[in-house]
């Protein structure tokens, strides 16, 4: 733009020279304080969680008000495309409904059987009470982390570490909380790992976010890739935190060295989410030989 460079040379004035020097010292000092804050947050995440929580409390209402309008816009393309292929969709849906009805009856029978078997084994199921149901209002859209803001906090009984789910499936876990809002580490964050199993064969695995909206699946154990396209993954409950049986993702792509899955609760469509208590695996009574498989 051919702008002349900044007139930063102070010339011979002692006062101007000193002023410039002080400004640079202040800048370097501020940068060092910033670095100190980052390290301090890494050393003492709990203390910084409180500060962060206050910031979340302050910013959540802004997003909350605007969120409703966005949900209406995001839903519009679905509504339009549903109209366009209504006929073909109608036939397909009717066929699916018939198949699903049979499955539903079968599932009811299985559920009944399960309940009886569980009663026989006297396994105490941990109660999955919902702590809070709240709106997901925004996320760190600029940052490399995938963290969403939820409009429930300490006052609603939300604590860091608790799992969060939507009707469709698992959303993530609470990272830190303010009084009335909290931040949720989404499944798609690269730091978040969730132990899962394939729903039919029970193949265990671990899903990790890939930072671009998908999930990477790693199979536990050696051998060829056990997952296939379309496989449904649910939480396995291994290691606690996430209760078993929450739907997580569906396998979308299987390559030579790994598989990719898409989360069932798509972050951009999230409206409401429920906070669940952190899951603690039940202490089983020593099972008799042969009664090992649940």
């Amino acid at each position: 733009m051919l702008a002349p460079r900044a007139k930063r040379r102070p010339g011979h004035s002692r006062r101007a020279q000193l002023g410039l020097f002080v400004a640079y010292v202040a800048a370097v000092g501020a940068a060092i304080i910033g670095l100190f804050l980052i390290i301090l947050a890494a050393v003492d995440p709990v203390g910084f969680g409180i500060v962060r929580g206050a910031a979340t409390d302050a910013s959540a209402p802004v997003s909350s008000v605007l969120r409703r309008g966005v949900m209406a816009v995001t839903g519009a393309d679905d509504a339009v495309s549903a109209y366009l292929d209504a006929g073909a969709q109608n036939i397909a849906l009717r066929r699916q409904l018939a198949a699903a009805h049979v499955r539903l009856v079968e599932a009811r029978a299985t559920e009944f059987e399960n309940r009886r078997l569980r009663a026989m084994l006297k396994i105490v199921q941990p109660r999955n009470d919902v702590l809070a149901v709240a709106r997901v209002v925004s996320s760190t859209a600029t940052s490399d982390r995938r963290i969403a803001t939820l409009t429930a906090g300490l006052n609603d009984g939300v604590r860091p570490g608790q799992p969060v789910r939507a009707p469709e499936g698992l959303v993530g876990r609470v990272l830190d909380t303010g009084r009335s809002a909290s931040r949720v580490l989404l499944l798609t964050d690269e730091t978040n790992s969730v132990p899962v199993r394939e729903v039919r064969r029970g193949t265990p695995g671990i899903v990790t976010g890939d930072g671009t909206g998908g999930l990477d699946i790693r199979a536990l154990g050696t051998g060829p890739m056990p997952f296939r396209r379309g496989d449904l993954l649910v939480t396995s409950g291994a290691g606690g935190l996430y209760a078993p049986g929450i739907p997580v993702a569906v396998v979308a792509l299987v390559g030579a060295d790994g598989a990719r899955a898409l989360p069932l609760a798509r972050p951009e469509r999230l409206d409401v989410a429920a906070v669940l208590p952190a899951y603690r695996p039940p202490l089983l009574p020593a099972p008799a030989a042969g009664a090992k498989k649940p």
């Binding site: 501020a30 980052i38 947050a41 910084f48 997901v136 930072g211 671009t212």
Partner: protein
């Protein structure tokens, strides 16, 4: 980047609060864009706060000292949800580096400006990811490439916005 440019002169009757506050508030406003109610599955939004800072710095080199990066960077940390300190460190160091470049270059032209913006954006986006690793994040740089390109393409618009605001703040 916005063609042959005559920077507007300050009108003597321009209210001082408007002259001083416009750049600061517009930069904070850029950071606040990430409060938009989008739940993004990937880093979709360019770092608008940092873009505004760059825009003002390149348009008005004499306006700010480098320390302004600390308070504005802190506001960005609060609004975008990055670990506190990330913006303070990155923004201040970036302004110091641009100061150094300015003492070495006699004139700035279009392509030098692009080069400065490209380097500064790469530095700030990659730097934010790397500073996150201290806090235990495991993000990769790969996911940030689209955001980098989008941010680079957005910059001319941001500079135009800065020039528009500049004209507005300096007039009577």
């Amino acid at each position: 980047m916005i063609g042959p440019l005559r920077l507007p002169r300050r009108d003597p009757y321009a209210p001082p609060w408007r002259v001083g506050a416009t750049p600061v508030l517009s930069t904070i406003g850029g950071s606040a864009l990430s409060l938009l109610p989008i739940v993004a599955p990937w880093p979709a939004l360019p770092p608008t706060g940092f873009l505004m800072l760059l825009g003002w710095r390149l348009l008005r080199p004499e306006m700010w000292q480098a320390w302004i990066g600390a308070p504005l960077g802190f506001a960005d940390d609060v609004l975008t949800g990055r670990p506190f300190g990330t913006g303070m460190v990155l923004w201040t160091l970036c302004l110091l580096m641009i100061d150094q470049i300015d003492t070495r270059l006699l004139w700035r032209d279009y392509w030098q400006e692009w080069a400065i913006v490209a380097a500064a954006l790469g530095y700030s986006i990659a730097g934010a990811v790397m500073l996150g690793w201290i806090g235990g994040a495991e993000s990769s740089l790969r996911a940030m490439v689209p955001q980098y390109l989008v941010a680079l393409m957005t910059f001319p618009l941001v500079l135009r916005l800065c020039a528009f605001l500049d004209r507005w703040r300096l007039r009577q």
